[in-house]
């Protein structure tokens, strides 16, 4: 069961502000989703290896060959927060 504290914790991890009313709402919704998935517990899976990837594809690689990079102006084109060719963000922590 997901508690209110769990929802608050998840909100903090995602850096999303959640008010009291939303906390209750999300708690109920998340619990109903978990309950739904809980139906899977009825299956016997002891002898089944876990599936880590639905597509059974392995070993997708590329060669170590240099490709063109983006010009600095393009990289910074979508932000106003720039300085000396770098992204500028507020002081951290």
């Amino acid at each position: 069961m997901i508690t209110k504290e769990d929802v608050e914790h998840i909100g903090w991890l995602a850096r999303i502000e959640i008010n009291e009313q939303e906390t209750v709402e999300y708690m109920e919704k998340l619990n109903s989703v978990l309950e739904y998935f809980g139906q899977l517990d009825e299956l016997q899976t002891e002898d089944v290896a876990p599936t880590y990837h639905v597509a059974e594809i392995y070993n997708v690689f590329r060669e170590d060959v240099v490709e063109e990079c983006l010009p600095q102006e393009t990289v910074l084109a979508n932000t106003e927060n720039k300085q000396d060719g770098a992204f500028r963000v507020p002081k951290i922590g």
């Binding site: 914790h9 991890l13 850096r15 880590y52 990837h53 597509a55 594809i57 392995y58 070993n59 997708v60 690689f61 590329r62 060669e63 170590d64 060959v65 240099v66 490709e67 063109e68 990079c69 983006l70 010009p71 600095q72 990289v75 910074l76 300085q83 000396d84 060719g85 770098a86 992204f87 500028r88 963000v89 507020p90 002081k91 951290i92």
Partner: protein, 495 residues
């Protein structure tokens, strides 16, 4: 005698190594050659973490990881895959780091170091692949930071993180482990340790077999040793005063040489690891035989061979194999037919000693010329050629220059800005050993010019003889043999 570890010290290391010898980043074709480039000029939608992009793994990065695994005598996983490690920090544009979690590519291995009591085995817990985040530069000092500038050139570089068991029992052992580890990586040619940010170390340390403290992000081997020495002293002091060691993460302030608390583990990280759906799992054990073929002779094997093949001491063999480029340079010198023992003395004792004294780090060797750069200022660089070493040692062996002169020539080449051969330097400085008649003439002149000193000497003042010898040395610019000069003066004056 076995080392008893009286303070119950346990040190474990986590070492991040950048695979900076690859041409491209881990998941995109951006060049890894960004070290002197302007910010954000080596990026693309993939390493900028833009939505809708698909990472594709660099095959060479996997090969390098397997090489490292084999060199650490580690188990290579039958099946291995990537996870997302989620956290918010602006050096990670995606909001997560692609790393490996419960299926690392390399499992248990080991490295043998020279421990407090002889050979000591340090267990390797695991080694895994992950991507490097971007680089943050604080505007002003960290404490008074007004903002942060981000350069994503480093973002998406291939890293290998190696985790050791807490098997090291002193800061010295930790330092030796790092030296050995770095040396192995350089032998494997997957890594250039001279580049900025090439190796970063986190160290876990506890005393009296107690609670461990983690020290984050130390950038040099010396730094690791200093940080550990400080931290061990701090923990012992806390316990002596009746305090308790907290499970916490600390930061090492290189300038002040102290560790500072960053956060206690109570607010434990919650990274919500989950499978990286954009990357397919790997089954690469079939590559192992072919990769094994490409593995070079590793340091321990080379050291044993050098002793065997060249008949040199273990000290010399160890010193010469401490850097693969130095080992190759030495073999280059030996290949010309020079006596290997003489070559070892000049290369390991004199040449390497002079490099270390100058803080010069060997950075290249092309079969003829060994290059080095200043450890703290890569702008300072210089080189030394195999033929120069041969010429110099031959001149010395033939008695044409003194050993002091030979050392002086090595210094002149290391400090010089122009390319000159040893003979040119010796000639310019007038350092060829003086001919006997030159010394005889200098003695005659000295006696003629220093009547007072001569009188004093004849009157019994032995000190005056030293003065006269000094005058002869001065006239011959130090090329005369002091003993010969002394004998000649005495013979001249006392018959």
């Amino acid at each position: 005698m076995a080392y008893e570890n009286p303070d119950g010290i346990r040190i474990g290391l986590e070492i991040h190594v950048q695979l900076n010898k690859l041409k491209t980043k881990m998941f995109c074709g951006c060049s890894t050659d960004y070290h002197n480039a302007a910010p954000n000029t080596h990026t693309c939608p993939i390493c900028l973490g833009l939505p809708g992009t698909l990472p594709v793994l660099n095959k060479k990065a996997v090969e390098a990881a397997i090489k490292v695994g084999l060199a650490l005598e580690g188990e290579i996983a039958e099946e291995t895959q990537f996870h997302r490690k989620n956290y918010f920090y602006p050096d990670l544009p995606k909001g997560f780091q692609v790393t490996q979690f419960d299926f690392p590519i390399v499992g248990k291995g080991k490295v043998v170091i020279e421990g407090e009591d002889g050979e000591h085995v340090v267990g390797i817990t695991r080694a895994h692949m992950e991507e490097d985040p971007g680089k943050l530069v604080h505007i002003g000092s960290i404490e008074k930071s007004k903002g942060v500038l981000i350069d994503y050139n480093r973002s998406g570089m291939s890293l290998i993180e190696t985790v050791t068991e807490p098997d090291m029992r002193s800061p010295k052992e930790a330092r030796r482990f790092l030296d050995k580890f770095r040396n192995i990586l350089e032998y494997l040619d997957v890594f250039d340790g001279n580049l900025e940010g090439a190796m970063r170390v986190d160290a876990n340390v506890s005393v009296y077999w107690g609670t461990r403290v983690e020290i984050k992000n130390i950038s040099s081997h010396k730094g690791v040793e200093r940080a550990l020495l400080y931290e061990i002293m701090r923990q012992k002091n806390v316990i002596r005063r009746g305090g308790k060691i907290l499970l916490e993460t600390r930061h090492f302030d290189e300038g002040r040489g102290v560790t500072i608390s960053m956060r206690t583990k109570e607010e434990a990280e919650d990274y919500r690891y989950f499978r990286e759906p954009d990357l397919m799992p790997m089954r690469v054990t079939s590559w192992i035989p072919a990769i094994k073929e490409t593995l070079p002779e590793l340091p321990d094997a080379k050291r044993a061979r050098f002793m065997e093949q060249y008949g040199i001491t273990d000290m010399h063999a160890k010193s010469l194999t401490s850097k693969i480029m130095l080992a190759d340079f030495y073999e280059g010198v030996c290949a010309t037919g020079m006596d290997p023992k003489t070559a070892a003395t000049w290369t390991a004792d004199v040449f390497l000693g002079e490099l270390n004294y100058r803080d010069l780090a060997i950075s290249s060797y092309d079969g003829m010329t060994i290059g080095f750069i200043h450890a703290k200022d890569p702008e300072i660089e210089n080189s030394f050629k195999v033929p120069d070493m041969i010429e110099l040692v031959t001149l010395f062996a033939e008695g044409k220059v003194s050993d002091r002169t030979a050392v002086e020539v090595i210094r002149a080449i290391l400090d010089g800005t122009e390319e000159k051969t040893p003979s040119q330097i010796i000639e310019e400085k007038g350092l060829f050993k003086a001919e006997d008649d030159l010394v005889t003439r200098a003695v005659a002149e000295t006696i003629a010019e220093n009547a007072a000193a001569v009188q004093d000497y004849l009157g019994g003042a032995e000190k005056s003889l030293n003065f006269l010898v000094g005058q002869v040395m001065k006239k011959t610019k130090g090329t005369a043999d002091a003993k010969t000069a002394r004998e000649l003066i005495v013979k001249e004056l006392k018959g």
